[in-house]
């Protein structure tokens, strides 16, 4: 459904992504592992149109996303949950969610239904719905960021390091959220440093190093393969 083909991306003169090719099938959960700074976030940004690839293509459902502005990429069915969450701090929780609901062709009932669904999955958001986003705790902000993405009813969610900065017990909540999304048929491209979580939830995993994809295997194969994990991730 989503494919990067031989993508090269630069930041100014720095060559960040070298010939990166990644695929995510419909409804799949795919992991992207690697140390800090190998280009995982840049890969997501390239898909989202926040950064233009110098070479290569990003193809979604058969269409080349070349040069599409990020808001058009969102319309096509790709949602983005960035590394630092980037919730709108001065907007209320409800207004944060509404940024994903104010799109054409969405009836008022449908909107209400989507909100209800998300409030049910994340009760704390219902509680805090009139509070400013910036007053939420780290874990709550992460939930809000994901819930906000779900408002777009996307076909795939790009999740960038959701467990970063969260307390260990919240990792379980993230695992549950990913499971919920997977059940609903939403594909996920999960960028993470938490190897264990990634191997648990993903069907396939790519490992990146220095801007290149170095290893690609089904998660099952990697679960036992300590050597590879150690080589690329030092864990």
């Amino acid at each position: 459904m989503l494919a990067l083909e031989n993508v090269h991306t630069y930041y100014g003169k720095s060559h960040i992504l070298h010939d990166v090719s990644i695929e995510v099938g419909r409804g799949e959960v795919v992991g992207l592992l690697g140390r800090n700074g190998v280009g995982k976030s840049t890969t997501l940004k390239t898909i989202m149109g926040l950064v233009r690839p110098a070479e290569g293509r990003v193809v979604f459902e058969g269409k080349d996303l070349a040069g599409l502005a990020p808001h058009k990429v969102a319309h096509v069915g790709i949602a983005y949950v960035p590394e630092d969450r980037r919730i709108f701090r001065l907007l209320s929780v409800l207004d944060n969610l509404r940024t994903g609901l104010e799109r054409p062709g969405l009836s008022a009932e449908r909107r209400q239904a989507l909100l209800e669904k998300v409030y049910t999955s994340f009760p704390v958001l219902r509680e805090r719905r009139n509070q400013a986003g910036g007053t939420l705790s780290g874990g709550e902000q992460q939930m809000l960021a994901i819930a906000r993405a779900m408002m777009l009813e996307p076909k795939i969610i790009l999740l960038d390091e959701p467990t970063e900065g969260l307390m260990p017990r919240m990792v379980g909540q993230i695992r549950e959220i990913i499971a919920i999304l997977h059940r609903e048929g939403v594909a996920i491209l999960l960028v993470e440093q938490n190897v264990r979580l990634t191997l648990e939830v993903s069907s396939r995993v790519y490992i990146m190093e220095k801007g290149q994809v170095r290893h690609h295997a089904p998660a099952a194969a990697l679960r036992g393969n300590r050597a590879v994990i150690h080589q690329y991730l030092g864990v």
């Binding site: 969102a74 960035p82 709108f88 907007l91």
Partner: protein, 292 residues
């Protein structure tokens, strides 16, 4: 030799200050919105006020209706502002702020001289729609002034509601806080920019028409508005809508009180001093809660 100023004069000046403050607030809120969302310091903003006043005066002269003139001016300038932004400012997005201030400066020159060419060097008049005065202390105070302040407040109130509630309000607020994330959420940011510029231009036109009966309509009136609006936006906190409204009233009151002591031409220094003191001691803005 100190001359005690009678309390009635101070009170009258308070009213005057609030009236000018509300008109200035209309101008400044547009400027603040524009700066907040696209980091553009619109040097030509005062010229938009001036053009609004001229369009209003011309429409009034041919139709005789103040309200028609008002609405026409607002719509014409909103459309013009949108066109201006889309053609000249959108390509400059991402370049350094100095470039946009220079570009809008160039635009202000063109607009000012265009007005001269289009309407000639003589001033125009806009007659107030509400005549009549009421007794305010020792003066016969025009109803129009009070009506203007209330009307301006209503417009600002409507803007506030628009931003808090509707779909476009969310778009604007989100795009102001985080342009990139707003885009990733499917909000068409370039369109929102144009929308905000149109709103700012429309509000500038509104204040031009409202100001017309008070101060006349001249081709050079723009610069004063630009200068005052800049001062207010800085004093109120760049990008802070509530702050610029409060600052507009604050600065206008300062000037009103100052003109009790010095000539009106010199009273304008009061706002300059306010700016300088703000920049020295509270550079994030006088009415911003606490500088983070």
């Amino acid at each position: 030799m100190t001359v005690p100023i009678p309390i009635e004069q101070i009170l009258v000046q308070t009213v005057n200050g609030i009236v000018s403050g509300m008109i200035l607030a209309l101008v400044a809120s547009g400027l603040t919105l524009i700066f907040g969302i696209m980091d553009v310091v619109n040097f030509a903003h005062g010229e938009l006020v001036m053009l609004g006043a001229f369009v209003g005066a011309t429409t009034l002269a041919s139709t005789g209706s103040f309200w028609l003139a008002f609405v026409t001016a607002v719509l014409v300038l909103a459309v013009f502002g949108a066109a201006l932004q889309a053609s000249t400012l959108r390509p400059l997005l991402g370049r350094d702020p100095l470039t946009t201030i220079l570009a809008t400066f160039g635009i202000s020159l063109v607009l000012q001289k265009y007005a001269l060419w289009q309407w000639g060097p003589s001033a125009r008049k806009i007659q107030e729609p509400i005549t009549g005065q009421f007794h305010l202390f020792y003066l016969e105070y025009p109803w129009y002034r009070v009506a203007t302040a209330i009307f301006a407040a209503a417009i600002i109130g409507a803007l506030w509601l628009f931003l808090r509630r509707g779909k476009y309000g969310i778009w604007i607020r989100a795009a102001t806080q985080d342009r990139i994330m707003a885009s990733a959420m499917g909000i068409p940011v370039p369109l929102v920019h144009t929308m905000v510029f149109a709103i700012g231009s429309g509000m500038a036109a509104a204040s031009g028409v409202l100001f017309g009966p008070l101060g006349g309509v001249t081709q050079t009136m723009g610069f004063d508005f630009t200068l005052r609006a800049f001062i207010v936006v800085v004093v109120g906190g760049m990008g802070n809508l509530g702050g610029s409204i409060l600052a507009s009233i604050f600065v206008s009151l300062l000037e009103a009180y100052a003109s009790l002591v010095v000539s009106p031409a010199q009273a304008v220094i009061a706002s300059f001093v306010a700016l300088i003191l703000t920049l020295l001691f509270r550079p994030t803005g006088l009415f911003v809660p606490t500088p983070k």
